[in-house]
Amino acid sequence: MTKKLLAGAIALAGTALVLPACADPDIYGTFPVTVKGYSGSKTNSVAYTGQIARHVLHDSLKKLAGKGNGKPNPALKAEMMSYFAQKTPGRTIIAPTSKKKFVIKQTGVDQISKKKNLAGKTYKGNISGMPNNMTGPQLISFWIDKASSAKKGVDMANGYNYPQLISKFILGAVFYNQAVDNYLDEKMTAKKKPNNKPYKKGAYYTGKEHSWDEAFGYFGTPAHGLSLTPKQLYNIAKRKPGAEKYADKNGDGKIDLYKEYTFGPAYYAAGADKTGKTSYGKTITQAFLDGRKVIANADGKKLTKAQLAKLQGLAKTIETNWEKTIAEAVFKYAGSCYKDLAAIKSGNKKTLKKYIKHWGELKGFSLALQAGRKNLGEVGAKLNRLIGFGPVMPNQSQVNDIDSKGNYVKGSGSIDNYMGHMLKTQKLMIDAFGIKARMKDQTKGMDAMLKKLGSGSSAEND
């Protein structure tokens, strides 16, 4: 009998171990003020306005980057720099803006948060995926300069789509980097930003509360994101007709960019999750929410070792899933480039523009992926080698350097080889990051065939 019980207990213990986390929908909206000695009137300690302001700066910068007329344009360049590097007051929100029934509440950056910029929060390391070892801010400034004089921000001769390059790189070099390398990393240790002290003097939130909130803000999902499907999150970012209905949580008829809109990182997570094969967005948002609860429950006291460990575990979940969303994007655009190249090879001239756009997204995301907390080492080096400094163009040329004056230097490249590189890039993403959504999979039929076989009889034996 005891033996029977033992076996049963083992089976049950196994069951308990791997149960999914509680999935009660919840909102990252209101958490009590717990900081000791606070005497102000605030009752909600959640705040991440600076992060949303930076999302808006990014969206606006991307829009500006596509406004060039093909000639050097210092005014445009200065305007772009004001969104990237300055803290100029009175900047308008160039994107996202209202679209028909999708009415956006804020029209100026300052309505969200004042004196914010992107450059100060951009990854400072050297970017080995581009020539001359530029730092993150240097590379973006270089691209801004190029974009300002390129027609609609696109260099058709060398194959650069600057709005895409700038935007995709910032998704990693600012948002992903700040979240996983700063707020969820050193600020989640015992020493930094303790929970028994305000984040800064006089603040109504503790060190840990605010650090966690800031990381959440960088992810850019609506506060009620957990109650939305990937498709809905995606539609909100696209400002699709009808999306205002589920975006406008408080029902005031306007979309509040601070808590009702989907920005870049969450948008790309939703893009992958739409396939139904992944749930990056949900996992990340749930982890943020769970972590915020841990901090709220500490009630303004110093976090215990166990609480810190719990937070660090959740931070890890957020980091790995976030990293995967970027790897999924690299995978997707490598697949798009492969397809475009096949079309270009068969003589379709219209594809070139698409190809350059896709390549910009591919390159931008591949650099974003390398702007995280850890050095990707060999994987990063391989990725940079496969993608190169520029796309292989229909005339079999490819940028292979940038000279000291900032001019591109071209060499020769082979489209066939480069198509092989695109496939290898896809494989590298699978091997290194274990991604699952795999959009634009060039080995796609495989998944469908395997699905059809089912796992039905494979474990049966006699």
Binding site: K3, A7, A11, C22, M446, M449, L450, L453, A459
Partner: protein
């Protein structure tokens, strides 16, 4: 102080209702599964017809005899069969929980695909111009043959490698056979079998996509391969039953239910015979084929003093580990089937 945010929903209930029960019911409804209801019904009909014809009975008598052999209480409610049901229920839970840790088929298939591209750069898409139906037929047949062969090979290993035999004994300890005996397997064996499935499917899919350059349709009926369907619909469930249908001369090519029953026989001369599943050509080739002949009066199970109480969950789940951990040396030096030697030492 009251905690603000606590999760109160009992998760285990969710898991049972959303994961476990659906998986369990799928075993009886999914035409890819051996014991799905239609196949069980087909097996019944075949058993009754066979008893009527082969034993020259009236249909009425055949029907009664058939029922007795298939669902007689002494069979379906024997100690041995009750253990089968417990294993079915527990193993299902274990395998659901283990599945996230098993290597994904797509990962393996993709790796093989790229490996093929690497070593045969010019082999990619060499049959891309052949008609679709040829691709479909070859794929369906290849998959069936490869799958059947791999089952034979793994099964052979389970018998011949002492450590594996310790685990496979859980299956062979059945003393009454019902279609559900197919679930009487140690989880270690199930994991090995599912790895086998992963490899077979990944190799077949990646290879065919590679040479045909596109995805290929499997020939299916009710969503399952027509060949697997044919095997299951023609009484595969009788392999684990007390209805000894034999195929006569063609047992050289197709494994009959009686041949698998013989595989379960506790008689020494039947040990390590008939490892195959649908086809017996592999056994024929490996010289492990044994024809069946009419009523053989077989008795099933692993006979040894130690297996006196061989239907307890402890014995079925944990004894193999005990055997492997405590007596690895003895195990590797002893012939697999001589369990007496091993077990006497354990006791």
């Amino acid at each position: 102080m009251v905690k603000f945010y606590e999760c109160t929903k009992p998760m285990i209930i969710d898991w049972i209702s959303q994961e476990y029960i659906p998986h369990l019911t799928a075993s009886f409804t999914d035409p890819q599964k051996r014991v799905s209801i239609g196949y069980l019904f087909a097996a019944f009909i075949i058993a009754i017809i066979w008893i009527t014809v082969a034993k020259k009975q009236t249909f009425r008598r055949g029907f009664v005899l058939g029922l007795k052999k298939m669902i007689g209480l002494s069979i379906i409610w024997s100690k041995s069969s009750r253990a089968d049901y417990k294993l079915l229920l527990i193993n299902k839970a274990l395998l659901i929980l283990l599945s996230p840790f098993l290597v994904a088929r797509l990962t393996v298939a993709t790796a093989i695909f790229f490996y093929l591209k690497e070593i045969f750069p010019y082999g990619s898409g060499i049959f891309a111009d052949s008609p679709i139906w040829i691709a479909s037929v070859t794929y369906t047949v290849f998959l069936f043959l490869f799958d059947d062969f791999s089952r034979f090979a793994v099964h052979l290993g389970l018998h011949k490698i002492p450590i594996l035999w310790a685990f496979h004994k859980t299956h062979h300890s059945a003393e009454t056979l019902t279609p559900f005996t197919v679930f009487r397997a140690h989880p270690v064996e199930s994991v090995i079998f599912s790895l086998r499935g992963t490899i077979v499917q990944s190799v077949a899919v990646s290879l065919f996509i590679f040479v045909f350059g596109t995805s290929i349709e499997l020939l299916t009926i009710y969503g399952t391969s027509i060949l697997l369907f044919a095997f299951n619909a023609t009484g595969a469930n009788l392999r684990h039953s007390h209805v000894p249908i034999s195929y006569g001369k063609i047992e050289k090519f197709f494994m009959s239910p009686a041949q698998h029953q013989l595989h379960h026989s506790s008689a020494k001369q039947h040990h390590d015979k008939n490892f195959g599943v649908a086809l017996s050509i592999w056994d024929n080739w490996a010289k492990t084929l044994h024809f069946s002949h009419g009523e053989m009066g077989l008795s099933f199970g692993v006979k040894s003093e130690l297996y006196q109480n061989n239907h307890s969950l402890f014995s079925l789940y944990l004894r193999p580990f005990q055997e492997v951990i405590k007596y690895p040396k003895i195990n590797s030096e002893t012939k697999p089937r001589e369990e007496n030697v091993v077990f006497k030492k354990i006791i």
